[in-house]
Amino acid sequence: MNKTVLAGATAILLCAPLWSQQANPPDLAAQNAALEQHVKDLEERLIALEGKVRTLQSAQAAPAPAAAETPSSVASAAPQATATSSESQAAPTAEAAPVQGQAAIASSGGQLPNYGGSSAAAKALNPDISVIGDFIGAAGNANAPPAATLQPFPSLQMHESEIGLQAIIDPYARGDFFMSFGEEGVNLEEGYITFTALPGGFVAKVGKMRSAFGKVNTMHNHVLPWIDRPLVTTNLVAGEDGIDDAGFSVERILPAPKGIFLEATGQLFRGDSGDVFTANNRSDVSTVAHLRGYKDITESTNLDLGVSYARGHNDALSSAGEPGDFVTQLYGVDATLRWKPLRRSIYHSFVGRGELIWSQREEFPTEQRAFGFYTSADYQFARRWFGGARFDWSDRSRFDNLTDKGVAATVTYWPSEFSQLRGEYRFTRYAENRDSHEFLMQLIFSLGAHGAHPF
């Protein structure tokens, strides 16, 4: 508004002498119109210029060779953007920062850019940084037998601080790092490069990642609908860490009848994942395969089905007491039903989910065939409030005659999008016929720009 007035005033001032000379009414009207047009043109140029400056500052301008022809003509100018802008520094967009880095490389003729430059714009080259705190308190009677895989939480615990570093690496790939600082040390939860521009619609990842076995295994703690993980996860799929290993992953959307989304994922890992897979030899790699089908039933309801398979060597000892050549195979089926009415999407939603997992663990003397599942429902009954329940049932992978059962109920409150308070009551009946009643409390809080997680 101000600039319009300013531009107008300037124009009027400049033309004032002209004006006073010719005072014929018809001329005046014509001049007025011309002036107005002139001011308008000036304003248009100003807005176009502002847009270019914004593009420069956030370096949204494309680095890809193909994008050099963007109409903005700004792409080539991006590296010179040393102008500092408080807003772009405070929160560089997910896309922006790395893109500028790429542009800087291009501008310096192949030489590595000076990332430590004194210019404040250098900060814009940083990846998106986020920290998510996960504080858990527990009370009640945790009567877990020593042999159970599910062990109680301590009374108060800074369970995890997850640091995320995410950026677009170059026009062909992006990088994501998630480091988890727990009470016992630091763990690279995930760290991988994703190749987004492969031919044929393939998407590939290389690094350490949570494998695509089922649903819960892929989820970080802070996106779980519960404080803990289901019994079947703890008993059969290596608990909180899950199948999380170094290797590579290829996924592709498959041709399917109209309206159905079908995606296949194949992964190859070193073969070390918690207590599920152990690589005794270099050749003991593990594999994970996942097929996912998805369909929108209505615009607010959708169904997501998956089947998973994982195979790797385990830590069972041979009859001679040496590392044996034993294999564990896991089969999984998962189903998720979601409902979210679009007009009231921020107030109400429902998610029902379930996973069934079969484990075949070869060991001496006999193979252990365990089965387990969970099923849960979560309902959002107000903008900030959620309630949920879960039923657990699972054998133990090493003792398939021992079965743990449990139920849990949760209440979640969101003060804002960036923090979450959750209470959970958990009842567990262990195979040893011991019961535990526990109350868990969790506070999750998020700093910085944490990229959205896949649906």
Partner: protein, 307 residues
């Protein structure tokens, strides 16, 4: 093993065929937009030379769209992805782009277009931005399409982009833009005349999605039902707002179609102000199918409420 190999070759062959057929059939540009407004503008300039599809619906909160896999089916075939930008879609679009397996629509790819670069952006925060301000957009207010002048600017930019991707139809796109420009100018004169009696009138909106509209039509937005962008109403803020509206004699509360009407209605009954659901986007109601009808609808609504 032999059999497995044959199956594998078969799968690859089918996949290749599919990929090739996709290329061969790509006569029309496949354009996917984040919101219906961008789709409406692209439709104006693209005419029948493009296929257009929007991810978010017009009655949906564009900040909170679910990144459903079904959208990937649209994205993987897209030649051009048009986003509103200014971090409006930051909560849901980036994972879709990554998973799409479509190099064209990756950020910086030839088919990625941030339309905000063409528009006049208001409310760019100055100084330090923190989340204590709520879900503030550090790059400025992303609801810029509600100023017809910005619609024209974006359409012009889109015509340029479409011409670049499909040079054979460049003159067609330019002609369509010229035509759109003419019709919009005529419509603007009508709208400006209709809104002229209400110049300077005070309104309250739920979210700050109305800024560009208010600027263009000289309305005065004196407050919001949300205490901060993205933060649900609190009792103390609501009381403050009621006091403010009484002092300023504000008689209209505008609510986006995706917000609950409970708080606005109680504000309305406390202040005597009318509460109206206005449309921030094309497709917010069935009868609003293009960019012109969006303004027709909203102006009609505001006119009736303020008379």
């Amino acid at each position: 093993m032999q059999k497995a190999n044959r199956v594998f070759v078969g799968v690859v062959a089918v996949a290749l065929l599919f990929a090739l057929s996709g290329v061969a059939a790509a006569k029309k540009l496949n354009v996917v937009t984040a919101t219906t407004d961008m789709a409406a503008l692209a439709q104006e300039v693209g005419g029948d030379r493009i296929n257009i599809d929007s991810i978010a619906k017009g009655y949906q909160d564009p900040h909170f769209v679910e990144a459903k896999p079904s959208f990937l089916l649209k994205l993987r075939q897209a030649d051009l992805l048009i986003v509103v930008g200014l971090q409006l879609e930051i909560g849901w679009l980036p994972p879709l782009i990554t998973q799409s397996g479509n190099p064209r629509v990756q950020v910086g790819g030839s088919g990625y277009l941030d339309a905000s670069q063409f528009a006049e952006i208001l409310e760019i925060p100055q100084g330090v931005v923190t989340r204590a301000m709520g879900d503030v957009h550090p790059l400025g207010n992303p609801h810029y399409w509600l100023d017809p002048d910005n619609g024209r600017r974006v359409a012009k930019g889109l015509a340029g982009k479409l011409s670049e991707l499909d040079p054979a139809d460049a003159s067609y796109f330019q002609e369509r833009f010229q035509d759109f420009d003419k019709r919009l100018t005529a419509a603007e004169q009508k709208w400006d005349a209709e809104m002229a009696p209400f110049r300077g009138r005070k309104v309250v909106t739920y979210h700050n999605s109305f800024t560009n509209f208010a600027k263009h039509f000289h309305l005065d937005v004196i407050g919001y039902v949300e205490p901060r962008p993205g933060i649900p109403p609190t009792p103390s803020h609501t009381l403050d707002l009621i006091g403010l509206m009484k002092r300023e004699n504000c008689k209209l509360v505008l609510v986006e179609p995706y917000f609950d009407l409970k708080t606005p209605n109680s504000i309305g009954s406390a202040t005597g102000a009318k509460v109206q659901v206005y449309l921030p986007s094309v497709g917010g109601e069935k009868q609003v199918t293009n960019y012109f009808e969006l303004f027709d609808y909203d102006i009609d609504l505001i006119k009736k409420a303020l008379q």
